[in-house]
Protein backbone atom coordinates (compact mmCIF):
# COMPACT_ATOMS: atom_id res chain seq x y z
CA UNK A 1 0.00 0.00 0.00
CA UNK A 2 1.37 3.42 -0.93
CA UNK A 3 1.01 6.92 0.47
CA UNK A 4 0.90 9.79 -1.96
CA UNK A 5 1.48 13.22 -0.43
CA UNK A 6 0.63 16.16 -2.67
CA UNK A 7 1.37 19.81 -2.04
CA UNK A 8 0.93 19.53 1.70
CA UNK A 9 0.78 22.74 3.72
CA UNK A 10 0.51 22.99 7.49
CA UNK A 11 0.75 25.82 9.99
CA UNK A 12 0.29 26.43 13.71
CA UNK A 13 -1.38 29.78 14.48
CA UNK A 14 -0.34 31.18 11.13
CA UNK A 15 3.26 30.09 11.55
CA UNK A 16 4.13 27.85 8.61
CA UNK A 17 5.46 24.42 9.56
CA UNK A 18 5.24 22.61 6.25
CA UNK A 19 5.31 24.26 2.84
CA UNK A 20 4.47 22.54 -0.42
CA UNK A 21 5.58 19.04 0.52
CA UNK A 22 5.00 16.37 -2.15
CA UNK A 23 6.36 12.86 -2.18
CA UNK A 24 5.42 9.24 -2.64
CA UNK A 25 5.95 6.48 -0.09
CA UNK A 26 6.43 3.32 -2.11
CA UNK A 27 5.11 -0.05 -1.03
CA UNK A 28 7.62 -2.13 0.94
CA UNK A 29 10.31 0.51 1.31
CA UNK A 30 11.90 2.02 4.39
CA UNK A 31 11.73 5.76 3.93
CA UNK A 32 13.59 8.06 6.28
CA UNK A 33 12.35 11.58 6.87
CA UNK A 34 15.37 13.47 8.04
CA UNK A 35 15.76 16.97 9.32
CA UNK A 36 16.97 18.97 12.29
CA UNK A 37 14.75 19.41 15.37
CA UNK A 38 11.77 21.68 14.85
CA UNK A 39 11.71 21.39 11.06
CA UNK A 40 8.19 19.93 10.96
CA UNK A 41 8.95 16.21 10.81
CA UNK A 42 6.54 15.17 13.55
CA UNK A 43 3.86 17.42 12.08
CA UNK A 44 4.37 15.74 8.72
CA UNK A 45 3.95 12.33 10.31
CA UNK A 46 0.74 13.44 12.03
CA UNK A 47 -0.67 14.41 8.66
CA UNK A 48 0.02 10.95 7.23
CA UNK A 49 -2.60 9.21 9.40
CA UNK A 50 -4.88 12.23 9.84
CA UNK A 51 -4.07 12.86 13.49
CA UNK A 52 -3.62 16.30 11.98
CA UNK A 53 -5.54 17.61 9.00
CA UNK A 54 -3.53 19.38 6.30
CA UNK A 55 -4.19 23.10 5.92
CA UNK A 56 -3.60 22.64 2.23
CA UNK A 57 -2.97 19.76 -0.16
CA UNK A 58 -3.92 16.11 0.19
CA UNK A 59 -2.68 12.75 1.35
CA UNK A 60 -3.79 9.75 -0.68
CA UNK A 61 -3.79 6.27 0.81
CA UNK A 62 -3.90 3.75 -2.00
CA UNK A 63 -5.21 6.42 -4.36
CA UNK A 64 -8.01 7.59 -2.07
CA UNK A 65 -8.00 10.88 -0.16
CA UNK A 66 -7.38 10.26 3.54
CA UNK A 67 -10.33 12.49 4.33
CA UNK A 68 -12.65 9.97 2.71
CA UNK A 69 -11.66 7.37 5.30
CA UNK A 70 -13.13 6.80 8.74
CA UNK A 71 -10.40 7.21 11.40
CA UNK A 72 -10.90 3.58 12.35
CA UNK A 73 -10.31 2.43 8.78
CA UNK A 74 -7.08 4.41 8.58
CA UNK A 75 -5.91 2.61 11.75
CA UNK A 76 -6.52 -0.71 9.98
CA UNK A 77 -3.90 0.21 7.37
CA UNK A 78 -1.50 2.57 9.16
CA UNK A 79 0.07 1.94 12.57
CA UNK A 80 2.15 4.46 14.48
CA UNK A 81 4.99 4.16 16.97
CA UNK A 82 4.99 7.56 18.63
CA UNK A 83 7.92 9.36 20.18
CA UNK A 84 6.83 9.32 23.78
CA UNK A 85 5.32 6.10 24.99
CA UNK A 86 5.54 6.57 28.73
CA UNK A 87 2.63 4.81 30.41
CA UNK A 88 1.38 5.85 33.84
CA UNK A 89 -0.90 2.88 34.42
CA UNK A 90 -0.09 -0.74 35.16
CA UNK A 91 -1.30 -2.27 31.91
CA UNK A 92 0.38 -5.58 31.10
CA UNK A 93 2.31 -6.02 27.87
CA UNK A 94 -0.43 -8.30 26.57
CA UNK A 95 -3.11 -5.70 27.33
CA UNK A 96 -1.18 -3.01 25.47
CA UNK A 97 -0.52 -5.23 22.46
CA UNK A 98 -4.16 -6.32 22.30
CA UNK A 99 -5.14 -2.65 21.92
CA UNK A 100 -3.77 -3.02 18.39
CA UNK A 101 -6.93 -4.97 17.54
CA UNK A 102 -9.24 -2.11 18.56
CA UNK A 103 -9.74 -0.75 15.02
CA UNK A 104 -11.20 -4.13 14.08
CA UNK A 105 -13.62 -4.45 16.99
CA UNK A 106 -16.94 -2.97 18.05
CA UNK A 107 -17.55 -1.37 21.44
CA UNK A 108 -18.50 -4.39 23.50
CA UNK A 109 -16.54 -6.92 21.44
CA UNK A 110 -13.66 -8.80 23.04
CA UNK A 111 -10.71 -10.50 21.35
CA UNK A 112 -11.74 -13.30 18.98
CA UNK A 113 -9.57 -16.39 18.60
CA UNK A 114 -8.26 -14.81 15.40
CA UNK A 115 -7.40 -11.62 17.36
CA UNK A 116 -5.63 -13.68 20.03
CA UNK A 117 -3.59 -15.45 17.37
CA UNK A 118 -2.55 -12.13 15.79
CA UNK A 119 -1.66 -10.68 19.22
CA UNK A 120 0.46 -13.73 20.05
CA UNK A 121 2.10 -13.54 16.65
CA UNK A 122 2.90 -9.85 17.00
CA UNK A 123 4.48 -10.45 20.40
CA UNK A 124 6.57 -13.33 19.06
CA UNK A 125 7.84 -11.34 16.07
CA UNK A 126 8.89 -8.44 18.27
CA UNK A 127 10.44 -10.63 20.98
CA UNK A 128 8.17 -9.49 23.79
CA UNK A 129 6.32 -12.78 24.25
CA UNK A 130 8.38 -13.75 27.29
CA UNK A 131 7.39 -10.52 29.05
CA UNK A 132 3.70 -10.72 28.12
CA UNK A 133 2.50 -10.50 31.73
CA UNK A 134 4.88 -7.79 32.90
CA UNK A 135 3.63 -4.29 33.62
CA UNK A 136 4.66 -1.67 31.06
CA UNK A 137 5.00 1.09 33.65
CA UNK A 138 7.92 -0.78 35.22
CA UNK A 139 9.83 -1.24 31.96
CA UNK A 140 12.82 0.50 30.42
CA UNK A 141 12.38 2.82 27.45
CA UNK A 142 13.71 0.25 24.99
CA UNK A 143 11.44 -2.52 26.26
CA UNK A 144 8.44 -0.21 26.17
CA UNK A 145 9.25 0.85 22.63
CA UNK A 146 9.29 -2.80 21.59
CA UNK A 147 5.88 -3.30 23.21
CA UNK A 148 4.48 -0.36 21.26
CA UNK A 149 5.94 -1.83 18.07
CA UNK A 150 4.27 -5.12 18.98
CA UNK A 151 0.98 -3.26 19.36
CA UNK A 152 1.55 -1.63 15.99
CA UNK A 153 2.17 -5.07 14.46
CA UNK A 154 -1.04 -6.36 16.05
CA UNK A 155 -2.82 -3.77 13.92
CA UNK A 156 -1.62 -5.87 10.95
CA UNK A 157 -0.74 -2.62 9.18
CA UNK A 158 0.45 -2.14 5.63
CA UNK A 159 2.28 1.01 6.67
CA UNK A 160 4.23 1.71 9.86
CA UNK A 161 5.03 5.28 10.87
CA UNK A 162 7.76 5.78 13.48
CA UNK A 163 8.51 9.07 15.19
CA UNK A 164 12.11 9.31 16.46
CA UNK A 165 12.18 5.60 17.35
CA UNK A 166 15.71 5.80 18.73
CA UNK A 167 15.28 8.83 20.97
CA UNK A 168 16.05 8.16 24.67
CA UNK A 169 17.20 4.62 23.91
CA UNK A 170 20.50 2.92 24.70
CA UNK A 171 22.66 2.39 21.62
CA UNK A 172 22.13 -1.38 21.62
CA UNK A 173 18.37 -0.94 21.97
CA UNK A 174 18.43 1.46 19.00
CA UNK A 175 19.95 -1.26 16.83
CA UNK A 176 17.51 -3.87 18.17
CA UNK A 177 14.47 -1.76 17.32
CA UNK A 178 15.59 -0.77 13.85
CA UNK A 179 16.90 -4.25 12.97
CA UNK A 180 13.49 -5.54 13.92
CA UNK A 181 11.59 -3.05 11.78
CA UNK A 182 13.98 -3.46 8.86
CA UNK A 183 13.60 -7.23 8.87
CA UNK A 184 9.80 -6.90 9.02
CA UNK A 185 9.91 -4.67 5.96
CA UNK A 186 11.91 -7.31 4.07
CA UNK A 187 9.95 -10.35 5.29
CA UNK A 188 6.41 -8.96 5.38
CA UNK A 189 6.56 -6.25 2.76
CA UNK A 190 5.79 -3.69 5.45
CA UNK A 191 6.13 -0.09 4.33
CA UNK A 192 8.02 1.90 6.97
CA UNK A 193 8.36 5.64 7.38
CA UNK A 194 10.90 6.70 9.99
CA UNK A 195 11.08 10.28 11.14
CA UNK A 196 14.41 11.08 12.76
CA UNK A 197 17.26 13.49 13.19
CA UNK A 198 19.66 10.62 13.78
CA UNK A 199 21.85 10.70 10.65
CA UNK A 200 23.83 7.46 11.14
CA UNK A 201 20.76 5.36 11.98
CA UNK A 202 18.75 6.65 9.05
CA UNK A 203 21.71 6.15 6.72
CA UNK A 204 22.07 2.57 7.89
CA UNK A 205 18.47 1.43 7.60
CA UNK A 206 16.63 3.51 5.01
CA UNK A 207 16.20 2.71 1.33
CA UNK A 208 15.30 6.27 0.49
CA UNK A 209 15.52 9.54 2.34
CA UNK A 210 13.44 12.67 2.35
CA UNK A 211 15.39 15.58 3.73
CA UNK A 212 13.46 18.50 5.19
CA UNK A 213 14.97 21.92 5.56
CA UNK A 214 13.24 25.24 6.25
CA UNK A 215 9.85 23.46 6.37
CA UNK A 216 10.03 22.12 2.87
CA UNK A 217 11.69 19.33 0.91
CA UNK A 218 15.39 19.85 0.47
CA UNK A 219 16.23 16.53 -1.14
CA UNK A 220 14.52 13.25 -1.94
CA UNK A 221 15.99 10.07 -3.31
CA UNK A 222 18.13 7.03 -2.62
CA UNK A 223 20.23 7.24 0.54
CA UNK A 224 23.49 7.70 -1.38
CA UNK A 225 21.95 10.45 -3.49
CA UNK A 226 20.56 12.42 -0.56
CA UNK A 227 23.24 12.07 2.11
CA UNK A 228 25.86 14.03 0.24
CA UNK A 229 28.37 16.16 2.15
CA UNK A 230 26.70 19.30 0.70
CA UNK A 231 23.23 18.34 1.88
CA UNK A 232 24.41 17.36 5.34
CA UNK A 233 26.30 20.62 5.65
CA UNK A 234 23.34 22.73 4.56
CA UNK A 235 20.67 20.96 6.57
CA UNK A 236 22.51 19.78 9.68
CA UNK A 237 25.54 22.07 9.70
CA UNK A 238 27.94 19.14 9.93
CA UNK A 239 30.96 18.16 7.96
CA UNK A 240 30.14 14.51 7.30
CA UNK A 241 30.59 11.74 4.78
CA UNK A 242 28.61 8.69 3.81
CA UNK A 243 30.50 5.43 3.27
CA UNK A 244 29.93 1.70 3.42
CA UNK A 245 31.01 0.03 6.62
CA UNK A 246 33.18 -2.88 5.44
CA UNK A 247 32.20 -5.15 8.32
CA UNK A 248 28.39 -4.87 8.13
CA UNK A 249 28.19 -3.87 4.48
CA UNK A 250 25.71 -1.13 5.49
CA UNK A 251 25.83 2.61 5.03
CA UNK A 252 27.52 4.55 7.76
CA UNK A 253 28.25 8.20 8.39
CA UNK A 254 31.58 9.59 9.42
CA UNK A 255 31.28 12.98 11.08
CA UNK A 256 34.35 15.17 10.97
CA UNK A 257 32.80 17.94 13.02
CA UNK A 258 30.69 21.04 12.84
CA UNK A 259 30.67 22.59 9.39
CA UNK A 260 31.18 26.09 10.74
CA UNK A 261 34.14 25.26 12.98
CA UNK A 262 36.14 23.84 10.09
CA UNK A 263 35.66 26.59 7.55
Amino acid sequence: MSLDIRELFYNYDGKPVLKDVSFLVKEGEVLGILGPNGCGKTTLLGNLNRNLSPKGGCVFLDGKDLHGYRKKDIAKEIAVVPQDSRVGFSFTVREIVSMGRMPFQDAFQGDSSEDLRIIEDAMRKTNVLDMADRYVNTMSGGERQKVIIARAMAQTPKILLMDEPTLHLDISAQFDILDLVYSLSRSEGLTVVIVSHDLPMVARYCDRILMIHDHTIHALGRTEEVLTPENMRTVFGVDAELSVDPKSGRNTITMHGSATSRT
Partner: protein
Amino acid sequence: MDRRKKTAIILIALAAAFVLLLFLELRWAQLWLLSPQEVWESLTGENRNYRIIVVDLNLTRVLFGMIVGAGLAVAGAVMQALFKNPMASPYTLGLSSGAALGAALGILFPLSFVPAIASVPILAFVFCLGTMFLVYSIARVGNQTHMETLLLAGIAVAALAQAAVSLLTYIAGESITEIVFWGMGSLTVSLPWVKIPIVLVLSAVGIFAMLYYAKDLNAMMLGDAHAMDLGIDVKKTRLALLIASSLVTAAAVCFVGTIGFVGLVIPHILRILLGPDNRLLLPMCVLTGGIYLVGCDYLAHLFAQSLGVMPIGIVTSLIGAPYFIYLLRRRKKEVGWV
Protein backbone atom coordinates in the same frame (compact mmCIF):
# COMPACT_ATOMS: atom_id res chain seq x y z
CA MET B 1 -2.14 -13.85 41.93
CA ASP B 2 -3.57 -13.09 38.53
CA ARG B 3 -6.30 -10.57 37.99
CA ARG B 4 -8.96 -13.09 37.07
CA LYS B 5 -8.59 -14.90 40.39
CA LYS B 6 -8.67 -11.61 42.27
CA THR B 7 -11.85 -10.64 40.42
CA ALA B 8 -13.49 -13.90 41.44
CA ILE B 9 -12.50 -13.44 45.08
CA ILE B 10 -13.77 -9.86 45.13
CA LEU B 11 -17.07 -10.93 43.57
CA ILE B 12 -17.56 -13.62 46.21
CA ALA B 13 -16.69 -11.17 49.00
CA LEU B 14 -19.09 -8.60 47.55
CA ALA B 15 -21.91 -11.13 47.33
CA ALA B 16 -21.36 -12.13 50.97
CA ALA B 17 -21.15 -8.52 52.09
CA PHE B 18 -24.30 -7.68 50.17
CA VAL B 19 -26.37 -10.43 51.79
CA LEU B 20 -25.09 -9.55 55.24
CA LEU B 21 -25.59 -5.79 54.83
CA LEU B 22 -29.04 -6.22 53.31
CA PHE B 23 -30.10 -8.18 56.39
CA LEU B 24 -28.49 -5.74 58.84
CA GLU B 25 -29.98 -2.73 57.09
CA LEU B 26 -33.48 -4.11 56.73
CA ARG B 27 -33.82 -5.20 60.37
CA TRP B 28 -32.78 -1.82 61.76
CA ALA B 29 -35.62 -0.06 63.58
CA GLN B 30 -33.82 2.76 65.40
CA LEU B 31 -34.31 1.58 69.00
CA TRP B 32 -34.49 -2.14 68.44
CA LEU B 33 -33.78 -4.78 65.78
CA LEU B 34 -36.39 -6.77 63.90
CA SER B 35 -36.20 -10.53 63.73
CA PRO B 36 -35.42 -12.23 60.41
CA GLN B 37 -39.00 -13.47 60.34
CA GLU B 38 -40.44 -9.99 60.83
CA VAL B 39 -38.21 -8.66 58.06
CA TRP B 40 -39.24 -11.39 55.66
CA GLU B 41 -42.95 -11.04 56.42
CA SER B 42 -42.73 -7.29 55.97
CA LEU B 43 -41.18 -7.77 52.56
CA THR B 44 -43.79 -10.26 51.43
CA GLY B 45 -46.57 -8.09 52.83
CA GLU B 46 -47.82 -10.54 55.47
CA ASN B 47 -46.75 -8.29 58.32
CA ARG B 48 -48.11 -4.75 57.99
CA ASN B 49 -46.79 -3.41 61.33
CA TYR B 50 -43.22 -2.98 60.22
CA ARG B 51 -43.82 -2.52 56.50
CA ILE B 52 -43.02 1.20 56.55
CA ILE B 53 -39.78 0.63 58.44
CA VAL B 54 -38.58 -2.31 56.39
CA VAL B 55 -39.76 -1.39 52.92
CA ASP B 56 -40.29 2.37 52.77
CA LEU B 57 -37.39 3.37 54.99
CA ASN B 58 -34.77 0.63 55.11
CA LEU B 59 -35.17 -0.87 51.65
CA THR B 60 -35.23 2.53 49.95
CA ARG B 61 -32.03 3.48 51.79
CA VAL B 62 -30.39 0.31 50.51
CA LEU B 63 -31.56 1.01 46.97
CA PHE B 64 -30.40 4.63 47.08
CA GLY B 65 -27.08 3.48 48.51
CA MET B 66 -26.58 0.91 45.76
CA ILE B 67 -27.41 3.28 42.90
CA VAL B 68 -25.66 6.35 44.29
CA GLY B 69 -22.55 4.45 45.40
CA ALA B 70 -22.34 2.69 42.04
CA GLY B 71 -22.69 5.97 40.16
CA LEU B 72 -20.14 7.89 42.22
CA ALA B 73 -17.57 5.09 42.05
CA VAL B 74 -17.85 4.53 38.31
CA ALA B 75 -17.87 8.28 37.59
CA GLY B 76 -14.71 8.57 39.71
CA ALA B 77 -13.06 5.73 37.78
CA VAL B 78 -13.84 7.37 34.45
CA MET B 79 -12.62 10.78 35.60
CA GLN B 80 -9.38 9.34 36.97
CA ALA B 81 -8.73 7.62 33.65
CA LEU B 82 -9.78 10.61 31.57
CA PHE B 83 -7.59 13.08 33.47
CA LYS B 84 -4.87 10.47 34.14
CA ASN B 85 -5.16 11.65 37.72
CA PRO B 86 -5.68 9.25 40.65
CA MET B 87 -7.06 12.08 42.79
CA ALA B 88 -9.88 13.00 40.43
CA SER B 89 -13.44 12.19 41.53
CA PRO B 90 -16.87 13.84 41.40
CA TYR B 91 -16.23 15.26 44.88
CA THR B 92 -12.61 16.42 44.62
CA LEU B 93 -13.21 18.18 41.28
CA GLY B 94 -16.22 20.03 42.63
CA LEU B 95 -18.86 18.34 40.46
CA SER B 96 -20.85 17.16 43.45
CA SER B 97 -21.05 20.70 44.80
CA GLY B 98 -22.06 22.03 41.39
CA ALA B 99 -24.80 19.42 41.12
CA ALA B 100 -25.98 20.24 44.67
CA LEU B 101 -26.27 23.92 43.74
CA GLY B 102 -28.38 23.00 40.71
CA ALA B 103 -30.57 20.74 42.82
CA ALA B 104 -31.03 23.44 45.47
CA LEU B 105 -32.12 25.88 42.78
CA GLY B 106 -34.47 23.21 41.47
CA ILE B 107 -36.15 22.92 44.86
CA LEU B 108 -36.47 26.66 45.44
CA PHE B 109 -37.30 27.70 41.89
CA PRO B 110 -38.90 24.75 40.08
CA LEU B 111 -38.84 25.01 36.31
CA SER B 112 -42.31 25.86 35.02
CA PHE B 113 -42.22 23.65 31.94
CA VAL B 114 -41.58 20.29 33.63
CA PRO B 115 -43.15 18.43 36.57
CA ALA B 116 -41.88 19.87 39.87
CA ILE B 117 -39.89 16.76 40.80
CA ALA B 118 -38.03 16.79 37.45
CA SER B 119 -36.64 20.30 38.02
CA VAL B 120 -34.18 19.00 40.58
CA PRO B 121 -32.31 16.42 38.48
CA ILE B 122 -32.44 18.60 35.36
CA LEU B 123 -30.86 21.60 37.07
CA ALA B 124 -28.43 19.35 38.95
CA PHE B 125 -27.25 17.94 35.62
CA VAL B 126 -26.95 21.34 33.96
CA PHE B 127 -24.95 22.77 36.85
CA CYS B 128 -22.82 19.65 37.16
CA LEU B 129 -21.94 19.79 33.47
CA GLY B 130 -21.23 23.51 33.77
CA THR B 131 -18.96 22.87 36.75
CA MET B 132 -17.14 20.14 34.85
CA PHE B 133 -16.34 22.40 31.92
CA LEU B 134 -15.50 25.33 34.18
CA VAL B 135 -13.00 23.28 36.20
CA TYR B 136 -11.61 21.68 33.05
CA SER B 137 -11.12 24.99 31.26
CA ILE B 138 -9.51 26.62 34.32
CA ALA B 139 -7.07 23.74 34.71
CA ARG B 140 -6.28 23.11 31.07
CA VAL B 141 -3.05 24.44 29.60
CA GLY B 142 -3.02 23.71 25.88
CA ASN B 143 -3.94 20.06 25.63
CA GLN B 144 -2.69 19.19 29.10
CA THR B 145 -4.31 19.27 32.49
CA HIS B 146 -2.00 19.19 35.45
CA MET B 147 -2.96 17.24 38.49
CA GLU B 148 -2.43 20.08 40.95
CA THR B 149 -4.23 22.79 38.97
CA LEU B 150 -7.13 20.44 38.33
CA LEU B 151 -7.58 19.77 42.05
CA LEU B 152 -7.19 23.43 42.96
CA ALA B 153 -9.69 24.46 40.30
CA GLY B 154 -12.05 21.83 41.72
CA ILE B 155 -11.66 23.15 45.25
CA ALA B 156 -12.17 26.76 44.15
CA VAL B 157 -15.27 26.03 42.12
CA ALA B 158 -16.67 23.76 44.85
CA ALA B 159 -16.20 26.56 47.40
CA LEU B 160 -18.12 28.91 45.15
CA ALA B 161 -20.96 26.44 44.64
CA GLN B 162 -21.14 25.66 48.36
CA ALA B 163 -21.29 29.36 49.18
CA ALA B 164 -24.15 29.72 46.71
CA VAL B 165 -26.00 26.81 48.35
CA SER B 166 -25.47 28.41 51.78
CA LEU B 167 -26.74 31.71 50.43
CA LEU B 168 -29.86 29.99 49.11
CA THR B 169 -30.40 28.32 52.47
CA TYR B 170 -29.97 31.65 54.20
CA ILE B 171 -32.47 33.37 51.89
CA ALA B 172 -34.96 30.51 52.06
CA GLY B 173 -34.85 30.34 55.86
CA GLU B 174 -35.14 27.27 58.01
CA SER B 175 -37.96 25.74 56.00
CA ILE B 176 -35.63 24.10 53.53
CA THR B 177 -34.13 21.45 55.79
CA GLU B 178 -33.59 19.29 52.74
CA ILE B 179 -30.91 21.64 51.48
CA VAL B 180 -29.12 21.70 54.82
CA PHE B 181 -28.79 17.96 54.72
CA TRP B 182 -26.89 18.08 51.47
CA GLY B 183 -23.82 19.31 53.19
CA MET B 184 -23.13 15.76 54.27
CA GLY B 185 -25.69 13.69 52.43
CA SER B 186 -28.40 11.34 53.59
CA LEU B 187 -29.97 8.26 52.07
CA THR B 188 -33.23 8.91 53.89
CA VAL B 189 -35.24 10.83 51.35
CA SER B 190 -38.84 11.97 51.02
CA LEU B 191 -40.95 10.38 48.28
CA PRO B 192 -38.38 7.59 47.74
CA TRP B 193 -40.48 5.52 45.36
CA VAL B 194 -40.81 8.45 42.98
CA LYS B 195 -37.17 9.42 43.16
CA ILE B 196 -35.54 5.99 42.96
CA PRO B 197 -36.70 5.29 39.38
CA ILE B 198 -35.51 8.74 38.29
CA VAL B 199 -32.05 8.22 39.78
CA LEU B 200 -31.90 4.66 38.49
CA VAL B 201 -32.72 5.57 34.89
CA LEU B 202 -30.36 8.55 34.75
CA SER B 203 -27.51 6.55 36.30
CA ALA B 204 -28.13 3.58 34.02
CA VAL B 205 -27.98 5.75 30.90
CA GLY B 206 -24.71 7.35 32.03
CA ILE B 207 -23.14 4.07 33.11
CA PHE B 208 -24.10 2.43 29.82
CA ALA B 209 -22.31 5.21 27.93
CA MET B 210 -19.24 4.73 30.13
CA LEU B 211 -19.17 1.00 29.49
CA TYR B 212 -19.66 1.63 25.78
CA TYR B 213 -16.50 3.73 25.70
CA ALA B 214 -14.54 1.62 28.23
CA LYS B 215 -12.21 0.14 25.62
CA ASP B 216 -11.55 3.51 23.96
CA LEU B 217 -10.83 4.94 27.40
CA ASN B 218 -8.12 2.29 27.89
CA ALA B 219 -6.28 3.58 24.84
CA MET B 220 -6.77 7.20 25.93
CA MET B 221 -5.02 6.38 29.22
CA LEU B 222 -1.84 5.96 27.17
CA GLY B 223 -2.30 9.45 25.75
CA ASP B 224 -4.46 11.14 23.14
CA ALA B 225 -1.99 10.52 20.31
CA HIS B 226 -1.94 6.79 21.04
CA ALA B 227 -5.73 6.67 21.00
CA MET B 228 -5.92 8.57 17.73
CA ASP B 229 -3.37 6.22 16.18
CA LEU B 230 -5.71 3.36 17.09
CA GLY B 231 -8.56 5.02 15.23
CA ILE B 232 -10.40 6.60 18.15
CA ASP B 233 -12.18 9.92 17.81
CA VAL B 234 -10.64 11.29 20.99
CA LYS B 235 -12.62 14.54 21.15
CA LYS B 236 -15.96 12.83 20.73
CA THR B 237 -15.14 10.10 23.24
CA ARG B 238 -13.90 12.58 25.83
CA LEU B 239 -16.98 14.76 25.44
CA ALA B 240 -19.28 11.75 25.74
CA LEU B 241 -17.51 10.57 28.88
CA LEU B 242 -17.53 14.04 30.48
CA ILE B 243 -21.27 14.31 29.85
CA ALA B 244 -21.87 10.77 31.13
CA SER B 245 -19.85 11.46 34.30
CA SER B 246 -21.84 14.65 34.90
CA LEU B 247 -25.13 12.86 34.36
CA VAL B 248 -24.27 10.07 36.77
CA THR B 249 -22.92 12.51 39.36
CA ALA B 250 -26.00 14.71 39.07
CA ALA B 251 -28.25 11.66 39.50
CA ALA B 252 -26.26 10.60 42.55
CA VAL B 253 -26.30 14.02 44.19
CA CYS B 254 -29.68 15.50 43.25
CA PHE B 255 -31.78 13.78 45.94
CA VAL B 256 -29.32 12.51 48.54
CA GLY B 257 -26.78 15.34 48.60
CA THR B 258 -23.01 15.38 48.40
CA ILE B 259 -21.46 12.17 49.65
CA GLY B 260 -17.73 12.62 49.41
CA PHE B 261 -14.78 10.44 48.44
CA VAL B 262 -16.68 7.33 47.28
CA GLY B 263 -15.58 8.09 43.73
CA LEU B 264 -12.00 8.55 44.89
CA VAL B 265 -11.45 5.55 47.14
CA ILE B 266 -13.28 2.73 45.36
CA PRO B 267 -11.81 3.06 41.84
CA HIS B 268 -8.35 3.68 43.22
CA ILE B 269 -8.32 0.56 45.38
CA LEU B 270 -9.90 -1.57 42.65
CA ARG B 271 -7.35 -0.36 40.10
CA ILE B 272 -4.54 -1.46 42.41
CA LEU B 273 -6.15 -4.89 42.77
CA LEU B 274 -7.51 -5.49 39.28
CA GLY B 275 -5.39 -3.33 37.00
CA PRO B 276 -6.41 -0.42 34.80
CA ASP B 277 -8.52 -2.22 32.15
CA ASN B 278 -11.78 -0.27 32.22
CA ARG B 279 -13.77 -3.12 30.73
CA LEU B 280 -13.27 -4.91 34.04
CA LEU B 281 -12.74 -1.95 36.33
CA LEU B 282 -15.92 -0.01 35.53
CA PRO B 283 -18.40 -2.86 36.16
CA MET B 284 -16.51 -3.77 39.33
CA CYS B 285 -16.75 -0.14 40.48
CA VAL B 286 -20.52 -0.28 39.95
CA LEU B 287 -20.85 -3.32 42.21
CA THR B 288 -18.29 -2.35 44.82
CA GLY B 289 -19.33 1.31 45.03
CA GLY B 290 -22.95 0.36 45.63
CA ILE B 291 -22.18 -2.15 48.35
CA TYR B 292 -19.56 0.13 49.92
CA LEU B 293 -22.09 2.92 50.33
CA VAL B 294 -24.65 0.57 51.88
CA GLY B 295 -21.91 -0.49 54.28
CA CYS B 296 -21.17 3.15 55.13
CA ASP B 297 -24.87 3.69 55.72
CA TYR B 298 -24.88 0.79 58.16
CA LEU B 299 -21.88 2.27 59.99
CA ALA B 300 -23.67 5.63 60.14
CA HIS B 301 -26.55 3.94 61.90
CA LEU B 302 -24.35 1.86 64.14
CA PHE B 303 -22.48 4.89 65.45
CA ALA B 304 -25.58 6.97 65.93
CA GLN B 305 -28.00 4.45 67.36
CA SER B 306 -29.18 6.76 70.11
CA LEU B 307 -28.98 10.00 68.12
CA GLY B 308 -30.96 8.88 65.10
CA VAL B 309 -29.74 9.06 61.55
CA MET B 310 -26.25 10.38 61.10
CA PRO B 311 -25.44 11.90 57.69
CA ILE B 312 -23.69 9.23 55.64
CA GLY B 313 -21.23 11.78 54.24
CA ILE B 314 -19.57 11.93 57.66
CA VAL B 315 -18.70 8.25 57.41
CA THR B 316 -17.47 8.36 53.81
CA SER B 317 -15.35 11.42 54.57
CA LEU B 318 -13.88 9.90 57.73
CA ILE B 319 -12.75 6.98 55.58
CA GLY B 320 -12.03 8.84 52.34
CA ALA B 321 -10.29 11.99 53.50
CA PRO B 322 -7.37 10.15 55.16
CA TYR B 323 -7.03 8.10 51.97
CA PHE B 324 -6.91 11.33 49.97
CA ILE B 325 -4.21 12.69 52.27
CA TYR B 326 -2.27 9.46 51.81
CA LEU B 327 -2.49 9.89 48.00
CA LEU B 328 -1.31 13.50 48.30
CA ARG B 329 1.68 12.47 50.38
CA ARG B 330 2.63 9.82 47.86
CA ARG B 331 2.24 12.31 45.02
CA LYS B 332 4.52 14.69 46.90
CA LYS B 333 7.25 12.08 46.80
CA GLU B 334 6.60 11.36 43.13
CA VAL B 335 7.14 14.95 42.05
CA GLY B 336 10.03 15.36 44.44
CA TRP B 337 8.59 17.93 46.85
CA VAL B 338 10.03 16.02 49.78
